[in-house]
């Protein structure tokens, strides 16, 4: 069965582009651009992994990360951020499996997803 990935990012362009390459690698990819709806979407989909943009405008990405790890600890979360200042360590501490800084090399991202979902 194909593994399910959910991209939570309010930058639709970026989400679309990464979704295409991730899909090509054999994953079933979904996109959620509304941070406020993200958690509900995760509960419905029960994805194997979530790519979470931490700089969401509608919701605070960090608290979303905490909520996912508390209520659905089996979901792998990969944190993505546009802000260079934010430290990856914090997200790892909160249970993120990996941390990417924009601009992202999508091929690297796919590799990481493959590695983590094996």
């Amino acid at each position: 069965m194909r593994k399910k990935i959910l991209i939570v990012d309010d930058e639709e362009d970026f989400a679309t582009l990464s979704a295409l390459r991730i899909g090509e690698a054999g994953f079933e990819v979904h996109i959620e651009t509304d941070g406020g709806k993200a958690f509900q979407r995760i509960q419905e989909l029960n994805p194997d992994a979530v790519l979470l943009d931490i700089m969401l405008q509608t919701d605070d990405g960090l608290s979303l990360l905490k909520k996912i790890k508390k209520e659905m600890p089996q979901v792998i979360v990969i944190v993505i951020t546009g802000k260079a200042m934010l430290m990856g360590d914090i997200f790892k501490m909160e249970g993120a499996a990996a941390f990417f800084k924009k601009p992202i090399d999508v091929k690297e991202l796919v590799k990481k997803i493959q590695e983590l979902t094996q």
């Binding site: 390459r21 405008q57 546009g82």
Partner: protein, 405 residues
């Protein structure tokens, strides 16, 4: 003209003074008054007791106070201390008895400027003592003033320094955020091309088309960024030339409206302009004014929800200061509005106030330079730009241009 000798100058300074003498002995009062009147042509008023002296000093202003130490009620020293507490700001000369050095010392300690020992010659030297005291007092005052001025100046310098530092910080922040702004669209373009080259999408199919659109949006965004930066550096270097000509502002408004309409339509915002029936000729660089307008309109679109409205307007007005006619152009939106505390900041360089905006129109994202460029352009037209806004209700940006006479 020959210079006035120093001693005469001092005397001149001491002339026409209002002097209060606190003295209970009428003979002494008479002598003091006589000598001062003759030598200094100054008015001497007399208080016959310490209490009376204090009362007068509470009600009126004197240039100098002379007081006998030995008074029936309140002593001269008590008078001095009391008026110091009252904040009376005039030099004080104490008259002491012979052999009364202790009194003299305590008077000086309490803030007297000078003392004179009462003897037969004291009345003849008094005018000189008075003028010296006044000179000293004035010099002290001047010194205080200068010190205050220096303090104020150095505070102002420190403030300017802090502001420069802040500007420097903002500049570094700006450079790092701008390089970031460049990287993201570049990354999108690269990824779009890679998706096609790697055969993941095909540009002739819908998915591939979408990818190409994303690449196109990103190039548009880069173009805007580069243009903003170029304009900004030109303005900073004072190299932007305005090519001013007489032009009907209504045509300028229409041009800006036409170029922004598609974007407004995309966001389902009504963009209107109700031009006046009569011509309004301004003396301006039409291209640059279109630039200011498109910038203001694109901000308005960016911060206005779907279904909102943006209205352009221009009216003629008399400048109350110069009584010259000027044109006031306005861009009014029904959008998010701006918090009071940010109203003046938004025109500053590099200042970007984070607030929810619509990111689905990438062509609208900017550098935070937009408004500062607008301000510079308007100022190069001897105009003024400002905003009136209420949170949640919308904002109106205004700018003025000189009317062509």
């Amino acid at each position: 003209m020959a210079e006035t000798p120093a001693h005469l100058k001092i005397k001149k300074d001491a002339e026409n003074m209002r002097i209060l003498l606190v003295e209970d002995n009428p003979d002494h009062s008479y002598l003091v008054r006589k000598s001062v009147n003759e030598a200094l042509r100054s008015q001497v008023e007399i208080a016959e007791s310490g209490e009376q002296g204090v009362m007068r000093l509470g009600n009126e202003k004197y240039d100098l106070i002379i007081s006998d130490f030995n008074l029936p009620g309140m002593s001269g020293l008590e008078v001095l201390k009391t008026i110091k507490e009252m904040g009376v700001d005039a030099p004080f000369i104490m008259l002491t008895g012979q052999g009364d050095e202790k009194v003299a010392v305590s008077a000086m300690q309490a803030g007297a400027y000078n003392y004179v020992v009462k003897d037969d010659v004291c009345y003849t030297i008094l005018p000189r003592v008075i003028s010296e005291t006044l000179t000293q007092f004035r010099a002290d005052k001047e010194k205080e003033r200068l010190e205050r001025e220096i303090r104020e100046k150095s505070e102002a310098l420190e403030k300017a320094n802090r502001e420069l530092k802040k500007l420097d910080e903002l500049k570094s922040q700006f450079i790092s955020s701008v390089s970031h702004e460049f990287k993201n669209p570049l990354n999108s373009i690269q990824e779009s091309i890679a998706l096609v080259l790697d055969g993941i999408v095909n540009p002739t199919e819908p998915k591939g088309k979408r990818v190409m659109e994303i690449a196109q949006n990103s190039t548009e965004r880069l173009t805007i960024l580069v243009n903003d930066l170029l304009d900004f550096s030109k303005l900073e270097a004072g190299k932007m030339k305005m090519e001013k000509e007489p032009v009907d502002i209504r045509g300028v408004l229409t041009e800006a409206l036409d170029s922004m309409s598609p974007l407004a339509e995309k966001r389902k915002i009504t963009l209107t302009c109700a031009p006046a029936a009569h011509k309004m000729i301004v003396f301006a660089d039409p291209m640059r004014i279109v630039q200011v307008l498109t910038n203001l309109i694109s901000n308005a679109i960016k911060y206005t929800q779907e279904g909102g409205a943006i209205r352009l307007d221009a009216r003629s007005e008399k400048d109350p200061a110069s009584s010259l006619q000027k044109i006031v152009v306005s861009v009014k939106d029904s959008g998010a509005g701006i918090a009071k505390e940010n109203l003046s900041r938004i025109f500053e360089r590099f200042e970007q106030i984070k607030q929810p905006q619509h990111r689905d129109l990438p062509a609208l994202q900017g550098t935070g330079l937009g408004l500062s460029i607008c301000r510079e352009i308007v100022q190069l037209h001897q105009g003024r730009i400002w905003v009136e806004s209420e949170l949640g209700k919308g904002s109106t940006f205004f700018f003025t241009l000189p009317r062509y006479q």
